[in-house]
Symmetry: C2
Subunit: 143 residues, 2 copies
DNA sequence: AGATTAAAAGACATTTTTATCCTTTTTATG
DNA sequence: CATAAAAAGGATAAAAATGTCTTTTAATCT
């Protein structure tokens, strides 16, 4: 659903949101400890975000990463899109391939469509619940 | 959130739910095409599930995998537990480490607690929304 | 201008996940 | 009892994700 890289990136941006602006840039060296992400790896992720215009940065002395006013209007999805790609996040919880919100598989209705009561569904739905009233294999495996 | 392996396993079990019982066992050879999982890999996963008593199997001629009446009462979580381990599934969407349902981080309230309106939250929540009213870094990074 | 600082970029290493192959064990059946 | 069918198990391979290191480029300060 979300790669660690995306989680790292979100944490990083969150840190920047709290600790930076145009006049107070932040070096990776100073933030990686707080967000618990390996320094070089965090640097890479932030560079990628910067390259895609999701966050801002300048090089050289007094340089670093920061969020502009505009940057702060970005959604978390904007971050995730850059790191994981949209497809990965939106993909069906079960569909390894072509199932998504537009073309949902049968399980989608249960766990996918509202991809978020997911844990509860996993715990409370038995195999029996799943298949009741259904005998057609094709219904479950559209792809 | 869910590994492909778990998705594969769920699909496999689903297939068994639809196509097997004590008297009609199913060989991996006959099911892997339908569920779109590599034969040898699916075999491994089903073996693992069988070893943990989540599904049933017998060897030899006319053998194969199947679901007993009891097996059908299992939850999807039972499957996922075996393949991914409980920790992985329950882990916080953002917490790479110790954040979970019991000790939620701040983002948890937003995306984690109801880990399922997640996509919508991602799309609709801006950085600004996230930090409004908060200036304390520690609040965001408990671990 | 020159030295220094910090991100950008890209090559390389490690680990985890996914996938395959091959041998062994079990078991039904003729 | 021999044979063949099928899962079980182990070793290995490939791919993807994660992580590190080194060099290059740009900004700043003296």
């Amino acid at each position: 659903m979300l790669s660690n890289s995306s989680k790292y990136a979100i944490k990083g941006v969150l840190y920047l949101a709290l600790n930076s602006d145009e006049d107070h840039k932040v070096m990776v060296r100073d933030m990686h400890g707080v967000v618990h992400v390996p320094e070089a790896y965090l640097a890479k992720l932030l560079q990628e975000l910067s390259r895609h215009g999701v966050i801002s940065s300048t090089r050289g002395p007094r340089g670093g990463f920061f969020l502009s006013k505009e940057d702060r209007k970005r959604s978390l999805m904007d971050i995730v899109k850059v790191i994981d790609g949209e497809k990965r996040v939106k993909s069906c919880v079960l569909g390894v391939k072509d199932c998504d919100t537009d073309q949902p598989c049968v399980l989608h209705k249960l766990v996918g469509a509202n991809k978020s009561k997911f844990i509860k569904v996993l715990e409370n739905t038995t195999i029996l619940d799943l298949i009741e009233g259904k005998r057609d294999v094709e219904e479950f495996f559209p792809v």
